[in-house]
Amino acid sequence: MKGLKTEEKIKLILQRREAMIKLCLSACVHCSLCAESCFKFHNHSKDPSYMPSYKALHSIGKIFRKKGKLKDEEFEEMKDLIWNKCVLCMRCYCPMGISIPLLIAAARAVCREKGYYRTYDVISKRIEKSKKVLTK
């Protein structure tokens, strides 16, 4: 990948995974069984945006459809979806055999190339808020 521009690198990332992404996106029957095995989904009052299928479709699905040409704010939004709402624990179960973590990892790879990734030295607003609540 040395010497390639960011767009070319993203194209390459998508090309390498094209067959897998296409198959997975078309095989999803929206049965929501993956949600049942996701601890994040259960710990967040079954918020649909925590459903593994939702996270995959709204990250790599979106990137793939738009061939990686997303606006900066779209990548920024996606960051919350694929880093904060998924920890890649690999416990999500899909009866169709879709590897959701691999799809989310692919979305992360694209975001990383664009310079969007999670940093850990900035305390998130959510942690600040919970700290305030806990110390009251």
Binding site: M1, L88, R108, Y117, D121
Partner: protein
């Protein structure tokens, strides 16, 4: 989580100075949470090495890539091609990640960029404290949730040793270090559970002398060796 720290740049340089195509492979797992080997740290390390090579009048081509996990086969696919193209790999993962990359690419020299230190807690951003040495025989149940292996300077299991300063409950090794067994005593006393340390426990089996493999409950049948 696993905590690690970057090795001195000179040490890393010493390992890779003879190679021409060098790949810095970051890990998006635990080491990125403790800010030692994530994407940003990997990029910074690459830039520093480029500069180091330049100062030493050496020529090498550097590439950087971040994998989501270096300890899991599912994510190896990610970096397969990039690793193949490099002469050597500097991994910013923990010891397990480095070994797994080396095992998956036996013909490729893989070097660690970090010193993996311990399993610890996050006191604050960038401040971590060791809490577990994965001894494989957890004593926390009768030591009031305080680990004598990590917290006691001598790692003794039948303390206190006799070197506790009674005035402030510190350790004889250093007045700054609180005596773990004093803390254990105080906590158990406050919970009315002093009998926990008054009982004689059987000797510990020091499992960390040999490499361990763990099969999680419920998966025994799956990994049972066939006769």
């Amino acid at each position: 989580m696993v905590k690690a720290k970057l090795k001195p740049l000179e040490e890393i340089f010493g390992m890779i100075r003879s190679y021409k195509k060098i790949l810095t492979l970051s890990c998006g797992g635990c080491v990125s949470v403790c800010m030692a080997g994530g994407q940003r740290e990997g990029m910074e390390l690459t830039l520093e090495l480029v500069e180091f090579f330049r100062q030493n009048r050496l020529d090498a081509e550097f590439t950087h890539y971040t994998m989501e996990r270096q300890c899991n086969p599912e994510y190896l696919f990610d970096a397969e091609e990039i690793v193949r193209e490099a002469d050597c790999v500097i991994s910013t993962a923990c010891g397990a990640g480095v070994q797994y990359i080396a095992e998956s690419h036996p013909s490729k020299p893989v070097f660690p960029a970090l010193n993996t230190l311990f399993i610890g807690i996050d006191r604050d951003v960038g401040l971590y404290e060791e809490r577990c040495r994965t001894c494989g025989d957890c004593k926390l149940g009768y030591t009031g949730g305080i680990c004598p292996i990590t917290r006691c300077s001598k790692s003794i299991l039948n303390g206190p040793c006799g070197g506790t300063h009674f005035s402030d409950g510190s350790c004889e090794i250093d007045r700054e270090i609180p005596c773990a067994w004093n803390d254990i005593f105080e906590r158990l006393k406050s919970q009315g559970r002093l009998e926990n340390i008054l009982t004689v426990h059987p000797p510990s089996i020091w499992m960390d002398q040999a490499q361990r493999t763990m099969v999680q409950y419920g998966f025994e049948e799956r990994y049972r060796k066939k006769e």
